[in-house]
């Protein structure tokens, strides 16, 4: 039984990537990444997650061509408000006469930006704090971990709310607020991994060779933290979307008329019983994308951080 991913690779590349004897570091690295991809692709649910996220990215990139109408301004307020799904407006219109489908499509950009920015800010903060605490030990570890604990003690949404309220509305502040509440678990994970890795023979060998603390931290310890961190970040993305939606729901976050899924759900609150589509469809979008990231996270965990013997 051949993996479809292997069968799908052009034969020339396949030979190079599966070579028994890589000729360079690059080839070795790419070969490893390729084998990880093949293992990931074996998992149908993980592939489903990937497809969902791929669709999200396509929506964001090609929004102007996929959306049918203007997402910011609606049609005639007399005749176009709160139209049910069907006809010209696939998912109906909201209370401002705006096409819900188009707003969802453009809203994917906001979602993507928030996820990406939170991932690249919170994860590095967490890794650096966690690995430093784990490697250096002593009072520095104590201090860093107590700061982490303090941040962890607050419920994420409440803390994000507090930051957003203090910093004001707007997508940048929303991102900052979410990132500030997302890093503590990564610091915890990084520290736990560092404690294990610190006492291994390969780190001892590096020390005997004269490697400095920084070299060991970045070259030896951090790479070992990556698998569990990558998995955790992917799984967290679903939560980030929900928090962003929560912030949007409460009016903190993206400024109107920019479409943001959480805000769209909030806007539809008043009409939830009669014109249910205004709330429901953005909600479904949130659900699907969260699910997608969860599935990817699970799939990555099976490949990068397997627990079965």
């Amino acid at each position: 039984m051949t993996d479809w991913a292997i069968a799908a690779t052009p034969p020339r590349w396949r030979k190079w990537l599966l070579a028994e004897t890589p000729q360079s570091r690059l080839q070795a690295r790419l070969s490893r990444a390729y084998l990880n991809w093949v293992a990931f692709a074996r998992n149908p649910l993980a592939m489903l997650g990937l497809i969902i996220v791929a669709v999200l990215i396509i929506f964001a990139a090609f929004a102007p061509w996929i959306a049918a109408h203007n997402p910011l301004f609606g049609g005639d307020l007399q005749t176009e408000r709160l139209l049910p799904p069907g006809g010209d407006h696939w998912l109906g219109t909201d209370s401002q006469g705006r096409d819900i489908w188009s707003r969802i499509v453009y809203g994917s950009r906001t979602t993507l930006v928030i996820i990406f920015m939170v991932a690249i800010t919170a994860a590095p903060i967490g890794i650096v704090i966690g690995t430093t605490a784990g490697y250096v030990g002593g009072w520095i570890e104590g201090a860093l971990m107590r700061v982490t604990d303090a941040f962890l003690a607050f419920p994420k949404l409440v803390l994000a709310l507090a930051f957003a309220a203090a910093l004001g509305a707007g997508i940048e502040n929303a991102i900052l607020a979410i990132a500030l509440t997302s890093w503590p678990p990564y610091a915890r994970i990084a520290r736990a991994e560092t404690l294990t890795v610190r006492s291994t023979d390969y780190v001892a060998a590096a020390r005997i060779s004269g490697a400095s603390g920084l070299r060991i931290l970045f070259g030896h310890i951090m790479p070992m933290c990556m698998p569990s961190l990558i998995v955790r970040v992917s799984l967290d993305m679903a939560g980030v979307i929900l928090i962003a939606a929560g912030l949007g729901f409460l009016g903190l976050g993206v400024a109107p008329p920019q479409p943001e899924w959480g805000q769209m759900v909030s806007d539809g609150r008043a009409q939830i019983l009669e014109q249910w589509w205004v709330c429901a469809y953005p909600g479904v979008a949130i659900f699907i994308v969260s699910l997608g990231f969860n599935l990817i996270g699970d799939g990555l965990r099976d490949v990068l951080d397997p627990r079965e013997g």
Binding site: E20, T21, P22, Q23, S24, R25, Q27, A28, R29, R32, T200, D201, Y202, A204, A205, A206, R207, I208, S209, G210, A211, S212, R215, G219, H220, P223, M224
Partner: protein, 262 residues
């Protein structure tokens, strides 16, 4: 004329923990190793033999006493230049190579740290010296067998051209047939490169094969110092050493019945 010893250890003491939890792992050990010699430290678990090795390697700065390598006195802080003098091969081939580094990276990192220029040539030479061809250069450790990994570990230990190589049970985790190959390799390398070895093992057979002189250790103290000939002739003075020797010969009901608890 007496040549200066390569390794001189005097009254070395190492303990861990404080107060009630204090463990004296090494109690005032002294021995010296001549240049080009292979010295054995034999003992069971808890004897302190590996602890001595790790202190010599510079992994543990908390020791008291005097240690000198090639005449240079060692201090708690190990300056980078001194790192080139002594290197170590670890017991577990599966744990001593970074799982995410290629063999090339594992071998070139020490060279990069010490500012060597001709990294490419040295890495290739190192692999050849331990009997691994260039095909292994860009593989990852999990693609190598236990014996091959141990060869890489040996290559790494030699790449900085040390004078002293510390061997911490280098073959205990290997199959017997692979052990023979690795021990032969170590013997050849010592002759070719004029290295000094300190070999730690619980296996008297391995130590007798590799070393002319050895110390038998128990709970942090040297019980007896002997030569390999003493072992083969059975000339051991201390009861514990004799028991260890008998145990190494294999299962013998009568002999075991006479074992004492030490």
């Amino acid at each position: 004329m007496v040549t200066q010893p390569m390794i001189e250890i005097e009254n070395l003491s190492i303990s861990f923990g404080r107060g009630a939890d204090r463990v004296d792992a090494v109690k005032s050990i002294s021995f010296s190793v001549a240049p080009g010699e292979s010295y054995g430290l034999v003992g069971e678990s808890g004897s302190g033999k590996s602890t001595i090795l790790r202190a010599l390697a510079g992994l543990n700065p908390f020791w008291s006493g005097q240690m000198a390598i090639a005449g240079e006195k060692l201090t708690a802080k190990r300056p980078r230049a001194l790192r080139r003098l002594v290197q170590m091969v670890f017991q577990d081939p599966f744990g001593s190579l970074h799982p995410k580094h290629t063999i090339d990276r594992i071998l070139s990192e020490p060279l990069a740290i010490h500012g060597f220029e001709d990294v490419e040539t040295r890495v290739r030479a190192a692999l050849e010296r331990v009997g691994l061809g260039p095909a292994f250069r860009f593989r990852y450790p999990h693609q190598l067998s236990g014996g091959q990994r141990q060869r890489v570990a040996i290559a790494r230990a030699l790449i900085l051209e040390p004078k002293v190589v510390l061997l911490d049970e280098p073959t205990s985790a290997l199959d017997v047939s692979i052990q023979a190959e690795v021990l032969n390799l170590l013997t050849d390398l010592r002759q070719q490169l004029g290295l000094t070895y300190v070999l730690v093992s619980h296996d008297l057979g391995v130590v007798a094969h590799m070393c002319k002189r050895l110390s038998i250790m128990r709970t942090g103290e040297v019980v007896e110092t002997a030569t390999a000939d003493d072992l083969s002739e059975g000339h051991l003075l201390h009861a514990y050493s004799r028991q260890l020797l008998i145990a190494s010969r294999g299962y013998d009901t009568q002999a075991i019945a006479a074992f004492g608890d030490f």
